[in-house]
Symmetry: none
Subunit: 194 residues, 4 copies
DNA sequence: AATGAATGAGGATTCATTCAT
DNA sequence: GATGAATGAATCCTCATTCAT
């Protein structure tokens, strides 16, 4: 038989309110992974499934599909902000964190490139907003007169373009090559561990 | 009944086979415009509608959605090749044409960034192929030892990223700013008029 | 926009998960009726409509059109198996049940005649399998040396052919006449009431 | 490139009125073959293509899809009639021809089993008509009191059922086995060569 | 008389979102 | 608070049929 679901009454149990926070986190993580694997167009059901929750839970936490992507982004941006705000932050270090996110998160990239044309993510304004937060974070730790000062987000967008481009190498390699072309030195590429 | 029956007989006129070539061109043009306005995910029906033809015509000319995008791309790439092959082609001139296409054609960009994750356009190999044609065309008119020689497509991908990024300015401005950041001088941004 | 949006909010009521089992049964019943009335090629939407559910429900329960027909068939075959396994089953009695299904279920017939040419129901192997279950069930209650022993399924196929043929009379009449021509006595033609 | 047709103006030449008769024959032959290979649901375009003509020609000869099937059938029936009317026709010989057609022509079978439920071939009346012609032809050469006299078409329908059934063996084998079960002796299975 | 392009209705299928339980 | 079934709009794609050439 090739049938689908049969409601047998075996519900996985309601873990109660305590699970709520964990569910949200699981959803964001699942979303990041699904986005990376299948792009921003992936069905929400896939995200819920991977998070191990019902679709309803997803909707409890996020009003619509854009909100899911936004949550993933929020996390990306927040890490960058934290890296920049951290004790002893260096330009190279922060750019390393930024680069890690560029290389890992399809959603991050997708958002950076959301230009309103995409149907997905009508939120140009939202993208702009996040972009500005990234810029602020970066600028905060860049020395005065750094050569990128005036073109910070442009450079980020460029590296982001390099990451998804068809050139050979891993995403990380491409990102580093791109920074090099821009004459920028980047520290170790890794997530920020606050 | 499995017949398809025409509801009433009021057909909108069949312009006849003569229209075929024109239709194909109209479809490609419509696709470029629709892609620019709504992204590569835009419904094919929208393209057909804008081209002023029935959906069937679209399917007669292109077996599936990828073929539509491919046709648009083919045109982009061909223009660049022609620009590069033209009498008295200069690096700046060719890059200008390339830049025009980057700034105009969402499909072009989409392809350049096709990374297999998107479901849409599984054709990584195809992207690679077109990318190589562009590279070959460019390299052919770059002086030996040009600083981009080894990173040509990376640079293109970077500019492409800049074009779609959330930074302010028109697409063309962003592209030019990106080239400038890379230390490359670009000629007038315009299509190639063979 | 790629969203699916509800035109106005006037949804026809969601009877909730409780309806699931009932829906499945309703779909199988509807399928049997629609098949009888319009053949195996009938649109799935017609089946969903008759079952009083949305198309999505049909797809939740059955992955594709073959699965729908398979479900109907499964029921046919199961009844025959039960009739054969029942206390005091007689050859005539079981053939009566078989005959009832032949006379009622277009899907049953369609399957028996699936010869791979039809595109529909590629499942020759599946047909063979079900056919064998019917054969096993019948053989189990036929006395040794019954004249049909060696040609059981051939005879069933023949009666099935008679049922759908253009000869006059009701389906049931034709079936009985066919058995008579084969020299086989059949009990009352009726479904099995376990 | 995966594009479809491109009107290049290279038309295969209009062979003029002389071709008309040949085209019709080619279409009927093509239809028989396509039906055999893909069932009665096969697209008309496939038939036209195999016949080596445009779709328009098909429509010139046949008003709609049913007419195509009808033409194939007509030929089946006509051959049987001719076989029956031929000098020295024997029951076995005619049944051999009939059996050949049963075993070869999916359309023939499809029609015999068209019971109005199938959507395809609404023409129950037409089926009845052809069926009667077959009956008349057969009866004309059967000796008085032959055991099938009263159930001639029923028997044909039964054999037809056997032919398409899931039992093992070639179509021809199944047909012969079915006749044997009915206690009828059949001559060589072959088309009628008038 | 032949060709094959154009048309568009209709059927399959997917998924965002709602909601009974 | 969670679950996952139900809904149906929207998109893809196919093909019967028409008709300009």
């Amino acid at each position: 038989m090739t049938e689908h679901a049969t409601s047998d009454g075996q519900r996985p149990a309601n873990r109660g309110p305590r699970a709520a926070a964990g569910n949200r986190a699981a959803l964001v993580t699942a979303a990041r992974e699904i986005y990376a694997a299948h792009g921003l167009d992936a069905p929400l059901s896939a995200i819920a499934r991977r998070a191990g929750v019902g679709q309803g839970v997803l909707y409890r936490h996020f009003p619509d599909r854009d909100a899911v992507a936004a949550a993933v982004l929020e996390e990306n941006v927040r890490q960058i902000e934290r890296a920049a705000a951290a004790e002893g932050a260096t330009p190279g270090g922060v750019l390393g964190v930024l680069t890690w996110h560029l290389a890992q998160s399809a959603a991050f990239i997708g958002l950076l490139h959301a230009d309103g044309t995409s149907g997905r993510f009508s939120a140009h304004a939202y993208a702009r907003d996040l972009s500005e937060r990234v810029e602020r974070a970066l600028r905060g730790c860049l020395p005065d007169g750094h050569r990128l000062t005036d073109d910070l987000m442009l450079a980020v967008a460029m590296v982001s373009g390099a990451v998804t481009g068809p050139t050979p190498g891993t995403r990380e390699h491409r990102a580093l090559a791109a920074w090099r072309l821009l004459g920028v030195t980047v520290g170790p590429v890794r997530p920020f561990e606050g």
